[in-house]
C-alpha cells in the first residue's frame, strides 16, 4: 500500500476529490498547511506597507491507496490540481506497511 501526500492549492480540493472519486478512491484526509516554495519573493503592498510574501495557504491531502492504482491516482491528482501556474504543488509517494480500520479491526486492503 502507498500513501499519496499531495500539496495543492486550496480551491482545487473539490476538483481533486471528484477526480479521485472517479477512479474509486473515496477515503482521504485533508489538512490546512502553510506552503513555502518558489511561489513567493514578490513584494506586496498593503495599507502602504511593503512586504515579501513568504508563505501561502495550501492544503495537504493524504490518501492511502493500494499499489496497483497508484499511478492512476497520481495521474488524476496531477490533472485535477493543475492550473499551470507556479505554486500548484507537489505529490509525494511513500510506503505504508500496514493499515488498520479502527471500527472493525480489518487490516490491509480491506481497511481502505
Amino acid at each position: 500500500m502507498k500513501m499519496i501526500t499531495a500539496i495543492i492549492k486550496p480551491f482545487k480540493l473539490d476538483d481533486v476529490r471528484d477526480a479521485l472519486s472517479d477512479i474509486g478512491i473515496h477515503g482521504m484526509t485533508v489538512t490546512d498547511v502553510k506552503g513555502f516554495g518558489r511561489q513567493k519573493g514578490h513584494t506586496e503592498l498593503y495599507r502602504g506597507a511593503e512586504y515579501v510574501v513568504d508563505f501561502l495557504p495550501k492544503l495537504k491531502l493524504e490518501a492511502a491507496v493500494s499499489s496497483d492504482i497508484l499511478d492512476q491516482a497520481v495521474e488524476a491528482i496531477t490533472q485535477a490540481a493543475n492550473t499551470g501556474k507556479i505554486g500548484d504543488g507537489k505529490i509525494f509517494i511513500s510506503n505504508i506497511e500496514q493499515t488498520i480500520r479502527i471500527r472493525t479491526g480489518e487490516t490491509g486492503q480491506e481497511a481502505l
Binding site: R47, G48, Y51, D54
Partner: protein, 397 residues
C-alpha cells in the same frame, strides 16, 4: 448622557477591536489589555488631577489643582446647562480615548509596563494642559481657536505622540520584510462600525445639549465619514484595481477624525468636501510615512489621526465661514470676521499643539525608557506580547 456612553463605547470595545484586528494574533491581547488598562488608569488620574489641570481656572497654560479629586462636584453643580458630574465624565471619556489612540503607533513591540507608565505621564503632562489651552479657558481658546470636538486636543496630540513614539522605539522586527497583515479583519471592521456609531456621541455630544446644533454636528460627522470611506475605497480601486475592506474603514476613520474639529461649525456640503480631502490626503500620508520615510507607525495613527486632525482644524477655519454659498458653515469664533484671520489662529493652534506634544512625548519616552525599558527583546517579539507580557493567548479554538 448617551453621548458619554457612546464615547466610552468608542474606546471599549470600538477602538480596542479596530486596533486589535490589525495586529497579528500573538499580540491581540496586548492591544485589548492596553486599551482597558488605559481606560482604567486614565479614569482614575482624571479624577485625581487631570480634570483639574484641564478645567480649573488657573492661568492660560495650566488649570491648577483646585478641582483635584473632583473637589466641588456634587449631583447638583452645573457646568453650563448640564450637571458638572456629567461634563467631567464626558471629558473623562475623551481623556481615555486619546492615550488609547497612541498605542497604535508602537504596537506589537512595546513593554506593557512602559505603556502604562508612558500613558499616565502623557495624560497629565500633554493631554491635560493642551485641553486647558483649547477648552479650559486657556490661551488658544482666548485667541479664538475653533476646535469643536478635539481636532487639536485629541487627534493631533495622539497622532504626533504616536509618530514620535514610532521613531523613538523603532520599527517591528519584520517591518518591511515579512507580512504583518491583520490577523482578523472582521474584528477591525466591527470595531470601526462601533467607532462610527460612537463618534456621534463624540461630536454630537460636544454640543453639550440635545438640540439642532447637536444633530447638525451628527449629520456632518456622518457625511464626512461616508465620504472619507468612499473616497479612499475609490482611490484604491482606481490605483490598485481592488478596493479593500481595510482601506474603506480607514477612509471612514480619516473622515471622522478630520471632521471632528469642524463638526460644530460647518454644514453638510462643507462636510462632503472635508471627507473627500480627508480620504485623499490621509491615503497618501499613509503611503509616504510607511514607504518613503520607513517609519513603522504600525497602525497608522499619525497619517490618519494626526494628519486628519491637522487638515480638519485648518478646514474648520475655512468652512465655518457663512459666505461660501452652499458650502457655508455657522460662523467664526467671536470677534473674528475673515477666513484668513481665523485660519491664522487655526494654524497657530496646530503648530503649538504639534510642537508641544512632540517635545514632551520625546522626553517622556526617554524617561520611561530609562525606568522600564521600552521594547521587549527580539525573541520575545517573535513569541508575541500576549505570552510575554500577559501569559495568555487570545484564541484557543
Amino acid at each position: 448622557m448617551t453621548a458619554t456612553a457612546l464615547v466610552l463605547m468608542m474606546t471599549l470595545p470600538g477602538l480596542a477591536l479596530f486596533y486589535g484586528g490589525l495586529v497579528r494574533s500573538k499580540n491581540i491581547l496586548s492591544i485589548l489589555m492596553q486599551c482597558f488598562a488605559i481606560a482604567g488608569i486614565a479614569s482614575i488620574l482624571w479624577v485625581f488631577v487631570g480634570y483639574s489641570i484641564a478645567f480649573d481656572e488657573g492661568n492660560p497654560y495650566f488649570g491648577g489643582f483646585g478641582k483635584a479629586f473632583f473637589n466641588g462636584i456634587s449631583e447638583s453643580t452645573l457646568a453650563g446647562d448640564i450637571p458638572e458630574s456629567l461634563f467631567a465624565m464626558f471629558q473623562m471619556t475623551f481623556a481615555i480615548i486619546t492615550p488609547a489612540l497612541i498605542i497604535g503607533g508602537f504596537a506589537e513591540r512595546t513593554k506593557f509596563s512602559a505603556v502604562v507608565l508612558f500613558s499616565s505621564l502623557w495624560l497629565i503632562l500633554v493631554y491635560a494642559p493642551i485641553t486647558h489651552w483649547v477648552w479650559g479657558g486657556g490661551w488658544l481658546q482666548q485667541m479664538g481657536l475653533l476646535d469643536f470636538a478635539g481636532g487639536t486636543v485629541v487627534h493631533i496630540t495622539a497622532g504626533v505622540a504616536a509618530l514620535v513614539a514610532a521613531i523613538v522605539i523603532g520599527p517591528r522586527k519584520s517591518f518591511g520584510k515579512s507580512s504583518t497583515t491583520p490577523h482578523n479583519l472582521t474584528m477591525t471592521v466591527t470595531g470601526t462600525g462601533m467607532l462610527w456609531v460612537g463618534w456621534f456621541g463624540f461630536n454630537g455630544g460636544s454640543a453639550l445639549a440635545a438640540n439642532g446644533d447637536a444633530s447638525m454636528a451628527m449629520l456632518v460627522t456622518h457625511i464626512s465619514a461616508a465620504t472619507g470611506a468612499i473616497t479612499w475605497m475609490s482611490y484604491e480601486w482606481i490605483k490598485f484595481g481592488k478596493p479593500t475592506a481595510l482601506g474603506t474603514v480607514t477612509g471612514m476613520v480619516a473622515g471622522l477624525g478630520t471632521i471632528t474639529p469642524a463638526s460644530g461649525f460647518v454644514g453638510p456640503a462643507g462636510a462632503l468636501v472635508i471627507g473627500f480631502i480627508a480620504g485623499i490626503v490621509c491615503f497618501n500620508a499613509v503611503t509616504i510615512i510607511k514607504q518613503k520615510w520607513k517609519i513603522d507607525d504600525s497602525l497608522d495613527v499619525f497619517p490618519v489621526h494626526g494628519v486628519g486632525g491637522i487638515i480638519g482644524t485648518l478646514m474648520a477655519g475655512i468652512f465655518a465661514s457663512t459666505e461660501l454659498g452652499i458650502f457655508s458653515g455657522q460662523g467664526f469664533a467671536e470677534g473674528i470676521s475673515s477666513i484668513s484671520e481665523q485660519l491664522k489662529i487655526q494654524t497657530i493652534g496646530v503648530i503649538a499643539t504639534f510642537v508641544y506634544t512632540a517635545i514632551v512625548t520625546y522626553l517622556l519616552l526617554k524617561i520611561v525608557g530609562m525606568i522600564t525599558g521600552l521594547r521587549v527583546d527580539k525573541d520575545e517579539e517573535t513569541q508575541g506580547l500576549d505570552i510575554i507580557d500577559h501569559e495568555e493567548r487570545g484564541y484557543d479554538m
